[in-house]
């Protein structure tokens, strides 16, 4: 495995793992965002 291989496999890992991690983070934030939106519309 040469330098190009190491860079390429690292990029693949960062791309897949990084995007999944951000998506999981987003799921929590989206729940909060949509709940805030509901609260704004229905103050009761």
């Amino acid at each position: 495995m040469n330098g190009w291989d190491i860079v390429t496999w690292s990029a693949i890992v960062v791309l897949v793992a990084g995007s999944v991690a951000v998506f999981v983070w987003f799921l929590g934030a989206a729940r909060e965002l949509l709940r805030d939106g509901r609260d704004e519309q229905d103050p009761s």
């Binding site: 040469n2 291989d5 897949v16 998506f23 987003f26 934030a29 989206a30």
Partner: protein, 503 residues
Amino acid sequence: MHAIDFAVVGVYVALMLGVGLLVSSRIHGFRDYFVAGGRLTTPLLVCTLVSTYYGLDVLFGNSEVSYQEGVVGFFGYTRPYYLVILIAALVVARKLRDHDFLSLPDVADHYYGRGTRVVVAIASAFYSLPLISVMGIGVLLDVMAGVPFPVGVIVGAVVSVAYTLLGGLLADALTDTLQFVLMCVTLGIAAALTLRELGGMSGMQAALPATYFEPMGTYPAWVLVVFAGSALSALIEPAFYQRIFAAVSYRAVLAALLLGIVLWAAYDWVATVLGMAAAARGLEVEPRYALLTVVIDALPAGLTGLFIAGALAAAMSTIDSYLLIAGGNLAYDIYRPLFRPDMDDASTLRLTRWMIVFSAAACVVFALFFQTVVSAWIAMSTVLVASALVPLLIALYAPWEPRPAAGLASSLAGLGVAIAYYALVTAFGADDPEWGTRIWTVDVGGRTLALWQDYALLFALPASIIGYAVGHRVGRPRAADDASRIGPRVVPAEARVNDEEIS
């Protein structure tokens, strides 16, 4: 493609439209529609920035270059963007959050007045026409289902208009997230499978000429300068500005951009490798089709559909975002201040939606004009950089008081020279099939100059600088009590705390 692939694509597109419909019921005015009421948090910003800014243009544009030339697709074409985005994150974003802006032309108006606002809005609207993503859908439908490219372009525009009218930025940001993860994961899997089949990068080195692994490739030096110059558009990127204004805090913007740079770099490198893989496999395709062809070959049934769905959604999401900006530029930044300053919120929102339809029609015309994705991207970046970069950066950072004449002369000179250059190369140049662009060959003092269509920025940017200097010399400072100025923003309490924490 198998039936299961078509089913996956159908379900995915329906899901996207459903999310758009659900969220569109929360839109109560232009601010909700255009900047999501300023409620975007870090993870949402990461997803929407990464996926919107990197649509099919980057995927196909980058792989188009690497299919023909190798790793220069990464080092010459995309790498300059990371540096510029870093500068934008650390320097420009913080400054912009001090005011109550909604759009890039708002910034121009604040410093130079209405004239510069209109010129910057015209450039921003042209830049924001998502013609590359519309071209991308044309490419997708051609490769997937054999639909002729012009028909695919029109279908892409019609679908995207329907989608864009449904929701504003919040709907867009939410739908961005699913396509973001799908696009990244399927691209990563496709790259892993392709690399395994080709024996890794070592196998590709054996199959490709050594020049494919030279970081600066065999492009003429001026083309690399133009690539780097077009990266300056990141400093005045309308979608980037829109998301800065839509963020809950500066810290959210900063974190999103820093994370984004890491993901963008990984995405670019993988796209570069896939373009090269198409060349290593000896595929004889149009350069812009290279990545898609090699990915469809590599992925098994089901995953192919997922990748196509992700690519389609990436295009739709980018189209959604940029049509929104183009429509907003035409309605909010040009029509309203020039013709109906007292236009109410509901009318602005309605006119914006009509302008979105108009922008989509303009997209189709331009999408059929350019030969390559990269040429189209360079042209759009050139128009924006030439007309907005110099006046806006000087206004934000120069110690002297901005003068309206300087902003107007700078933006008009940059825009005018860019348009004139393209007109001249179109009229007197000839198509070059080897480089996939138009070149005008002229004799100057016994020397032959090859003027590429893509060199417009080399003339337009200096013209903008000269225009600024002349305008600054002859113009007068703007009156301090000018009522049309956009004042300091009313910062929400949470954002104020967050912005102060990191300063």
